[in-house]
Subunit: 214 residues, 2 copies
């Protein structure tokens, strides 16, 4: 296996797509696939696919292609999905609830151990077999249970107020739906941002350009 | 104003962030800001900020910095937010409902004109002052109303089955929450994907690397 630590973020961001596609190929009974075929199905260049997968050691064989199951299992291993990450979920508004109920956290390698909310009407409700807790007990909970990841579905101001505390508990990774830039001034955490409104703004620009060109 | 059509996607993707930050500065009463200050607040390099904004004509004045309101208004103009895009919303499951009820579509430049769902229990419910319609009337609706954008909150298979039809109606832009790659084989549409599970997988990898290094 090659050294994984120097792999660029753009390669890493493509790994989930490979993982998904290969999972679907397995379901459809496909045993092996050439990089050319994979390229056509995924809309990526065949040489890019070979380069990407070479970053992690290169699993293809010339004239044979890739063994779908073993490549899928290798990528699962690279993503580290066999080891679940203990995770807290903060914010059970509409979006938070939707994410809690629609994601298959277990398959994605996450173990949700606590759900927190400040709205008294929501505290005590159950999701994923867990009762929603008051954010007032977050401190005790984190000191005791040491989560590795936090999923943040709260407004910007609340995220800003809470961020130092969360990082202080030793939380290493954030899936951030808020508009607060958690990574700012914090080099030792990793953050994946999902900014739906930013995507809508980018789309707006691109649609206007597409309409002008057509 | 510079030619906007050759601006790279990575610059365009940063515009919503500038727009958000400048909006907050206006709210806090800030009238002008240097690229250095903007850089510190946003966690971007000052020279990158100057370069980005130069792509669109360059609004800063040496020794003065940027006039916050006029820069905000210029970016609003560049993003095209003054002209609302007629938009249909497809899929009112948990995630769809959460997005319908949590986004400020009007401010983001979108005019939601129709909401569609196939589940009979959801058809007839109201969101944003619109009754949810059956996806069986999508065809008639689109031929009559010619939406420019579709927001897709449906499973992969449903998105795949529907995509040719939607593109056939002349829909130019998609905000795609499904795992179907809409842009594949369709060069003349623009797609912004939000793949929450892919972000979770990428985060998993990055957290593991961060734990190893610490």
């Amino acid at each position: 296996m090659a050294n994984k630590s120097n792999v660029s973020l753009s390669v890493i961001r493509r790994l989930p797509r490979y993982y998904r596609f290969l999972g679907e190929l397995i379901k459809s009974g496909c045993l092996r696939i050439s990089s050319k075929e994979l390229s056509q199905r995924m809309g990526l260049g065949a040489s890019q696919i070979r380069q990407d997968l070479n970053c992690f050691g290169g699993f293809g064989q010339q004239g044979y292609g890739y063994n779908v199951e073993s490549l899928h299992s290798e990528i699962k291993d690279i993503l580290g999905l066999n080891k679940k990450l203990d995770t807290i979920f903060i914010g059970c508004g509409n979006l938070g609830k939707a994410i809690l109920t629609s994601m298959d956290f277990d398959t994605l390698g996450y173990n949700i151990i606590g759900i927190f909310e400040k709205d008294k009407n929501i505290i005590g409700q159950s999701f994923l077999g867990l009762k929603v807790l008051s954010d007032e007990v977050l401190d005790d909970f984190c000191k005791k249970n040491r989560p590795a990841v936090a999923i943040i579905c709260i407004p910007k101001k609340a995220a800003e107020d809470m961020s130092d505390e969360l990082i202080g508990y030793g939380i290493k990774g954030f899936l951030n739906f808020s508009h607060y830039d958690l990574a700012l001034n914090n080099d030792n955490i990793v953050v994946e941002n999902i900014h739906i409104s930013d995507s809508l703004l980018t789309l707006h620009y691109r649609v206007n350009e597409a309409i002008k060109e057509s």
